[in-house]
């Protein structure tokens, strides 16, 4: 199997989809500069640099999508989505409904998110839950190059606006990617490790922390099941509930701050639908309700670690 980074997986997905479908175009602040091989293959009309103006980038994508193109826009760092919020939330997410279904908005918004580069809070902010809370949008955040490629290809083919978050900390870590066409449905979680004692649910880089925790726990006789959500909206409720019904214990882990994060929704889902199966209270691990610090140790301290996850799981298993 070829080995790619997430950054390369994005390029590979774009290349394949642009070859397959002439209506796929991509634009953003430097995408034509950084991915010049795409310009070489597809020309300067289909891969464009834009002004540094996230609102008009997103709005242009909305208008283009409504009229038959399939734009992918690169908005760089997730906090910059604030400038594009109106176009994504009020236009892309709502105008299909408000028009009584007359329009579809097949567009993908790429944004980098999370700790890893020490860039501070105006470049590092996990805002995915904002978009999960907005009707009409879909939200994806993969943890491996293979999933990134497969999910991005599916997102480009989806007729709805998709927010596609790339975890900065994982961006240049290599991983195996199946050769040839490989697609993954949005809304399908992966059980990346099977176990019977406790369920660890996560997405993005903390999936890897959960896997390390599961490794530690295995040495202590605790079999943790690890679920990578991959897509946050639609959310694979069945896989979460099925696992918790089997293990009776749940730790939800994400890097975004805990307050009103995606973990809160998952905890509520399990409390509502699998309460009788729980052998212990649900635990949520997330970042603090504070902007991200630039200082590397502070930044790292805000992300739930494998040790903290293993600790939480051990406590649950001892009750």
């Amino acid at each position: 199997m070829p080995t790619l980074t997430i950054y390369d997986a994005v390029g590979a997905a774009l290349t394949e989809e642009m070859r397959r479908d002439h209506s796929v175009i991509a634009f953003g602040e430097g995408i034509a500069t950084k991915r010049h091989e795409l310009v070489d293959e597809f020309g300067a009309l289909r891969i464009r640099n834009t002004p540094l103006a996230e609102g008009i980038i997103a709005g242009t994508a909305v208008g283009a999508a409504a009229m038959g193109l399939r734009p992918v826009v690169d908005l760089l760092f997730a906090p910059f989505l604030c400038y594009a919020m109106d176009e994504l939330v009020n236009s892309a997410g709502k105008l299909r409904y408000l028009s009584g279904g007359q329009f579809t908005f097949p567009l993908v918004t790429l944004a980098m998110t999370g700790a890893g580069w020490g860039v501070g809070a105006q470049h590092n902010h996990n805002v995915e839950a904002w978009f999960v809370h907005s009707p009409g949008l879909k939200v994806v955040m993969p943890s491996t190059p293979a999933d990134t490629k497969a999910l991005l290809k599916t997102a480009i083919r989806d007729d709805n606006p998709v927010l596609f978050f790339l975890d900065i900390g994982l961006l240049y870590q290599p991983g195996e990617v199946p050769a040839g066409e490989h697609l993954l449905a949005l809304g399908q979680a992966a059980i990346v490790r099977e176990g019977r004692d406790v369920t660890l649910v996560s997405y993005g880089k903390t999936v890897h922390h959960c896997q390390q925790a599961a490794e530690q726990l295995a040495g202590q006789g605790i079999a943790a099941e690890v679920i990578d959500l991959r897509s946050l909206k639609p959310l694979d409720e069945a896989t979460i509930l099925g696992s918790v019904k089997k293990t009776g214990r749940l730790v939800v882990v994400h890097e975004a701050n805990r307050l009103c994060g995606v973990g809160a929704e998952i905890a509520a889902l399990v409390a509502e639908q699998a309460f009788a199966d729980l052998k212990a209270p649900i635990v949520r691990l997330g970042g603090p309700d504070a902007p991200a610090a630039a200082s590397y140790p502070l930044e790292q301290a805000s992300v739930p670690s494998a040790e903290a996850i293993a600790d939480a799981a051990r406590r649950l298993c001892s009750t």
Partner: protein, 320 residues
Amino acid sequence: MTPKPPAKNPQQLLEQMLLIRAYEEAIVNGSAAGRMPGTCTSVGQEAAAVGVVNALAPEDLILTNHRSAGHLLARGADPGRLLAEVMGRRDGYCKGKSGSLHISAKELGVVLTSTIVGAELSMAPGVALAQSMLGRPGIVVCFFGDGAACEGSFHESLNLAALWNLPILYVCENNHWQAFVHRREAMSREHVADWAASYGIPARTVDGNDVFAVLEAAQAAAAQVRESQRPYLLETLTYRTRGHLEPDDQGYVDKAELAAWLARDPIATGRDRLIADGQLSPAQAATMADKVASHIAVAQAFAEASPFPAADELTRDVYA
């Protein structure tokens, strides 16, 4: 249903303005009587809408905002389906989900109506990009107010349209009001057209209460956009003679300013000019008014007979 072809004679322009006025008056009366929700009317601005829309070809696309009745009706929208939409009924253009504020009618080329002030400007480059990349002939007309021109999206939109050579006719309906703020309180310049120059975009300001002047300016502007495949900005100077959102007592409006504009009502002046020119007799004008009134009566009956959407529509059309 397809977009209405441009008017063949000046009488048709007058009739369209009368239809818009009668349609909006039906809503004003209905809302005063508690039978309809309040709307943002375009009373006093009919010439700006009719003049521009009649300069368009059927394949051209329109983006508009909350004050859209004139654009839609001039484009050939059925007033019955429009009223049904305003009243939240099933037979409205958007199945009753838009209400009065965001009515779009894809079949008429009226796309992406947004009531977020300025969002129509943010989407216009994308619509025009699709037209040019997919090799479609139509140009894109984006209607917006002087209030929207003070949003960042206006400036970002013009900059990108100029950079990317997008065939957009920007039409600023400068009606002097930005909800409850007079434009002189909010704009650093007297005219929105002045701002176009900084983006290298040709622009013109026209008397928005003279339907014939607007038509002529819009025809020239649309021809230039079609020919150059570049943006153009047309500013129609007009006045919002009713309030922002019905009901509105307009207690904040300068009475002399309002009176001066009421004296230049686009419908009355248009009709008087046709009569003075011998193109319309007073009797024909009266017949035209009767025809429009009965058209609206039929439309109103249709809208009132249309059922409300079933509750299961609540979650339909969220996703494709």
